[in-house]
């Protein structure tokens, strides 16, 4: 059977999580690879969470917040927006492929967009293959 990636999604409560719920109430089907974790605002998403997810075996991490300007906390999503490029830089230096971590804006009304997003990301990561991070962290005597 083909490789089924594990994707962890960090969604803000007001826009993206509600958007994901809307996808549900509208019965919009998408791939079951994503596991959603709700936070109040995308500004709460600490880069450490992303690393933690990757280390614990996630093949991809999706971060979603309100569209710029629509944040329920007026400017939280900008904080996420600022962290993202720096985080990507860091992850790249650690040898983590670009597609594995992604930041997208999903509003409460964009159920379809969320579903498309998940499908797209799942496909990309399936093509990319499993994340190697976990493996490289095992101390293996003869590997030294």
């Amino acid at each position: 059977m083909s490789f089924e990636p594990k994707i962890v999604g960090f969604l803000c409560n007001w826009c993206s999580y509600t958007g994901a719920d809307l996808a549900g109430t509208s019965r919009i089907q998408y791939m079951p690879n994503i596991r959603i974790i709700r936070v109040m605002c995308s500004a709460r998403i600490d880069p450490t969470f992303v690393m933690k997810a990757l280390v614990d075996g996630a093949d991809g991490v999706l971060i979603c917040g309100c569209h710029p300007g629509d944040c329920h906390y007026s400017e939280g999503n900008y904080k996420a927006m600022r962290r993202y490029p720096l985080l990507k830089k860091l992850l790249a230096d650690f040898g983590i492929e670009d597609e594995r971590v992604r930041l997208e804006w999903v509003s409460a009304s964009e159920g379809q967009r969320f579903a498309d997003l998940v499908n797209d990301m799942t496909e990309r990561i399936r093509a990319l293959g499993p994340s190697r991070i976990r493996g490289t962290l095992q101390i293996d005597k003869n590997e030294r």
């Binding site: 690393m51 720096l86 030294r144």
Partner: protein, 321 residues
Amino acid sequence: MADRKLQIALYWAAACGGCDVAVLDTDEFILEVAKLADIRLWPIAVDGKYKDVENMADGELDLTLFNGAIRNSENEHLAKLLRRKSKALVAFGSCAHMGGIPGLANLTNKEEILTRAYLNNPSIESGSQKIPQPETLVETGKLNLPQFYKRVYKLSDIVDVDYFVPGCPPAPHQVKAVLLAYVKGELPEKGSVVGASQLTVCDDCKRTKTEKKVKKFYRPYQIIQDPGKCLLEQGILCLGPATRSGCGVRCPDTGLGCRGCYGPAPNVIDQGSKFLSALAAIIDSKNPDEIEKIIADIPDFISIAYRFGVPASLLQRSMHK
């Protein structure tokens, strides 16, 4: 314990020797040490052979200050040996604590390192380029060299560590404090960081801090500093907010941003990402392109965020299986 002198050892693995110097930097206190303890092994200062250590009974040593990271088979062998012989093993200094400067090697790989060091190194006479091998046969017999590992490990990846004394190097007054505390038997629970505060460098930093917003980052030489003002607010990268205090604010006081050698604050599991999180949040822009431009001024961010802790980072921290 006055009847019996403390049996101690100091060892350096992959390290620069600065930690040993830091011990000597305790000045006359070193004589106190000599009074209190028998120094059974200290390659930099005292003559002693590995044989002697091997001949010791397990747990014969009371305390071992182990500095340096684990880079090769010799480092590992000694780490395990000393662990066995010591009642208390202390990861002494940033390298043993978090992998330290040698740990930066984990951002590349063994092959590249050896090629750079022994083949493409301008200081090598042409014709004599060869990579040293663990075993070399000469007419007198077989010569052995320690095996060079693929990765650098922090001490706790290899053996079970009792205490961590951070710092590159640990501040002498901290070294003194730790030793005295040990003698008095006043050390905290096993596994904890000693010789450092549980607050961050900012707590001790005298510079005035206000609300932070950064529009552009500078290297220290690029601007005329305001000596009284928080370096970050002036756009100079300073890990102070994300680094345990204890060093005595050595770098910021000289106008350099904190390097983070004392490692993350107690509640933080990854120093670099936490620093990133804080730093990015205060960038003063809402425009993705502008943000890209601003962070483009930060050279080699990973070596800034993890200068002393690549092997201790969440993404490279080894997991025992």
